[in-house]
C-alpha cells in the first residue's frame, strides 16, 4: 500500500475533516473505514463522533474543551500511525437480509434492464455487498456494488413516501429504507428486518464495512 497524503480542515467549530485522497476507490474507502475503527478504539478525549466517507473521515469534538489545532494535530498523527500499521480494524460482520421481491418497481426495472423478473432477483441475491457509508436518513446504508446489468439511474421524481423496509436499487448501489421517508430509488422488494431502531444499541443494524447478502424469502 502506498502511504497516504493526509490533510486536515475544520468543518465548522466542532469537527475536523481529514482528506485521504482525491479519487474514489474501494481500496481507499476500506482503508478509511479501518482507520475510523482504530480511532474509535483509541477513545480519544473530547471526541463525540467519527464519520468515515469515500475520501474523508470527519471527527466531531467538543469545541468548548479543546481547539481545532490541538484536535487536528492529534488526529492527523493518529490516522497516519493507524494506516501505517495497516490494521484492518475489527473483522466485518455479515448480515443476511430476507427479502420478499414484491416491489412496486420490480417489473419496470426488469423492463428497463431487459431482464426477466426472475433474473433481476437472481442477480440481486447473487452478490455479497459491502456497506460504503451510512447517511441520508438514520440507518440508511449505501451498499456496493450491484451487478452491472441492474444499474438503473434514480427515478426522475422521488416518491414523497417510501415505506420502511423497502429494498431498493439505484446506480451501482442497493439499500434498505430504514424509515418511512421520501425516496428516489427503485423499490424491488420488502424486508421485515428492522434496519434502524433509536431504542436499540447500536441503533443502526449495519455499520460501514459490514457485509450484506439478500436472500429471497419463501
Amino acid at each position: 500500500m502506498t502511504s497516504l497524503k493526509l490533510r486536515a480542515r475544520p468543518l465548522g467549530d466542532a469537527a475536523v475533516t481529514i482528506t485521504f485522497g482525491s479519487e474514489k476507490s474501494t481500496e481507499l474507502l476500506r482503508r478509511i473505514q479501518a482507520i475510523a475503527l482504530s480511532l474509535e478504539a483509541k477513545r480519544i478525549p473530547n471526541v463525540n463522533d467519527i464519520v468515515p466517507a469515500y475520501l474523508t473521515l470527519t471527527v466531531f469534538y467538543d469545541a468548548l474543551d479543546t481547539s481545532y489545532h490541538v484536535m487536528a494535530e492529534q488526529l492527523l498523527d493518529a490516522c497516519q500511525r493507524s494506516d501505517e500499521r495497516e490494521s484492518s480494524g475489527a473483522p466485518s460482520r455479515e448480515h443476511v437480509i430476507p427479502v420478499r421481491y414484491d416491489g412496486i418497481d420490480l417489473e419496470s426495472v426488469a423492463a428497463t434492464t431487459a431482464l426477466s423478473v426472475t433474473d433481476v432477483i437472481a442477480r440481486h441475491t447473487a452478490r455479497t455487498y459491502t456497506v460504503d457509508l451510512l447517511g441520508f436518513v438514520p440507518g440508511f446504508a449505501y451498499l456496493s456494488e450491484i451487478d452491472e446489468a441492474l444499474h438503473v439511474p434514480r427515478r426522475p421524481q422521488p416518491r414523497p413516501r417510501v415505506a420502511a423496509g423497502s429494498v431498493a436499487i439505484a446506480g451501482a448501489q442497493t439499500a434498505v429504507y430504514p424509515l418511512d421517508t421520501p425516496g428516489g430509488w427503485h423499490i424491488i422488494g420488502t424486508t421485515g428486518m428492522v434496519m434502524f431502531d433509536p431504542a436499540r444499541d447500536p441503533p443502526a443494524l449495519l455499520a460501514p464495512g459490514d457485509k450484506v447478502r439478500f436472500e429471497e424469502a419463501g
Partner: protein, 316 residues
C-alpha cells in the same frame, strides 16, 4: 405537568441534540436556536442541555398544572401569563392553572419555552429532541397537539430569582443579520469569483427553508465541480448545488452529502441565521477558525453568567 391548551402550528420538544450517533446516520437535531433555549434554561435554573419547547408559525397557549419557573426566549412575541404581560428573557413564576398565551410571533422564527426542571420525555440516543422526519424523539416523535399533557422533571434546587431579566448584551445580535463564516472543506475547489460574491452580497432566506436547511436567494456562486463523493456535513455548512444558490444546512440536515461545501457558519452565529424568516436578509462575514471558536467559548461563558445571575450565585 403542563398541558397544551391551544397548540400553535408547530410545537416540539427540543434540547441540544444528538452528538454521538452521526456514524449511524442520525442528524444532530436539537433546538434551531440552541442559544435561546440554553438562555431560557439558565433563567429557570436548568442546565443548558435540559429539554424545552420549540415553538413556531403562530400563536397558542399552554396551561401550567404546578408551581414552576418559566422563561421564554428567541423570537419576539406578544405573550401573557393569565392576562399579565410575560416579558421575554425573564424569570417568571407560574401558579397552577396559569395559562401562557402567545398571540403572535412578531419577529424571528423560533420561540423557546423553558420550565424549571425541563420537559420529561424518554431519552433516545442521548437526547430528548424530536426528530420529525424519523418520527422519533420528543413527544411520541411528533409535534404537540391541543390537549397533549407533558410531564416535567423535578425542579432544580437552586430556585431562580423572580423577575430576573437577562441583559441584551448577553444575547446574540439577532437584529444585525451579520453571520460569521469560516472557510469550508471544499473552498479551494471554487473559482476566484466565489468568495467575493458570498461575502459581498446580501442573501435572502427562501421560502424553501425548514429545520433541514435554508435555501438562500441572491447572486449565484459558480459551481463547476457538480456533485462530489459524499462526506460529512454539519449544521451551519453552506453548500452550493448546481444552480449556484447556497443552502445552509440546519439542525436536521442529513449527516452526509455530496454538494461542495464552500463555508460553515460560526456556531456562535448559527442562532442568528436560524431566526431569519423567509424573505429576511443575511450577510456573511469571513472569520478564522480560531476567532470562531473564541466566539463560541464567549457564548458559553455568557450562558454561564446568565445562570449565575438568575440564581443569584453572583451579582452584576
Amino acid at each position: 405537568m403542563i398541558t397544551i391548551a391551544k397548540a400553535p402550528p408547530y410545537l416540539t420538544v427540543q434540547d441540544t441534540g444528538r452528538k454521538h450517533s452521526r456514524a449511524a446516520g442520525v442528524p444532530q437535531g436539537g433546538a434551531m436556536d440552541f442559544f435561546a433555549l440554553a438562555a431560557a434554561n439558565a433563567l429557570v435554573g436548568n442546565s443548558p442541555d435540559a429539554a424545552g419547547l420549540e415553538w413556531s408559525l403562530g400563536g397558542g397557549s399552554i396551561r401550567f398544572d404546578r408551581d414552576t419557573a418559566l422563561a421564554i426566549s428567541g423570537a419576539t412575541v406578544s405573550a401573557t401569563l393569565s392576562g399579565r404581560d410575560a416579558a421575554p428573557c425573564t424569570t417568571i413564576y407560574a401558579r397552577p392553572g396559569d395559562v401562557l398565551s402567545i398571540e403572535t410571533i412578531i419577529n424571528g422564527r423560533f420561540l423557546y419555552l423553558a420550565v424549571s426542571g425541563g420537559i420529561d420525555v424518554p431519552v433516545l440516543l442521548d437526547s430528548r429532541s424530536t426528530y420529525l422526519p424519523g418520527h422519533f424523539g420528543g413527544y411520541e416523535g411528533r409535534t404537540l397537539k391541543t390537549g397533549d399533557s407533558i410531564l416535567l422533571r423535578p425542579e432544580q434546587r437552586q430556585r431562580p430569582v423572580e423577575g430576573f431579566h437577562c441583559a441584551a448584551d448577553l444575547m446574540p445580535r439577532y437584529d444585525s443579520g451579520i453571520v460569521h463564516i469560516i472557510r469550508g472543506t471544499h473552498e479551494d475547489l471554487f473559482d476566484g469569483s466565489a468568495w467575493p460574491i458570498l461575502t459581498n452580497s446580501a442573501y435572502r432566506v427562501s421560502t424553501a427553508s425548514d429545520r433541514t436547511g435554508y435555501k438562500l436567494e441572491g447572486p449565484p456562486i459558480r459551481n463547476t465541480m457538480g456533485t462530489l463523493p459524499s462526506e460529512a456535513g454539519c449544521p451551519g455548512t453552506i453548500q452550493v448545488p448546481a444552480d449556484g444558490l447556497p443552502i445552509a444546512l440546519m439542525a436536521d440536515a442529513p449527516t452526509i452529502g455530496g454538494y461542495a461545501k464552500i463555508a460553515v457558519v460560526s456556531e456562535a452565529d448559527l442562532p442568528i441565521l436560524a431566526q431569519r424568516r423567509p424573505g429576511d436578509e443575511v450577510r456573511f462575514e469571513l472569520t478564522t477558525i480560531e476567532q470562531s471558536q473564541r466566539m463560541l467559548k464567549r457564548r458559553a461563558a455568557d450562558l454561564h453568567t446568565i445562570g449565575q445571575l438568575a440564581t443569584r450565585a453572583v451579582r452584576r
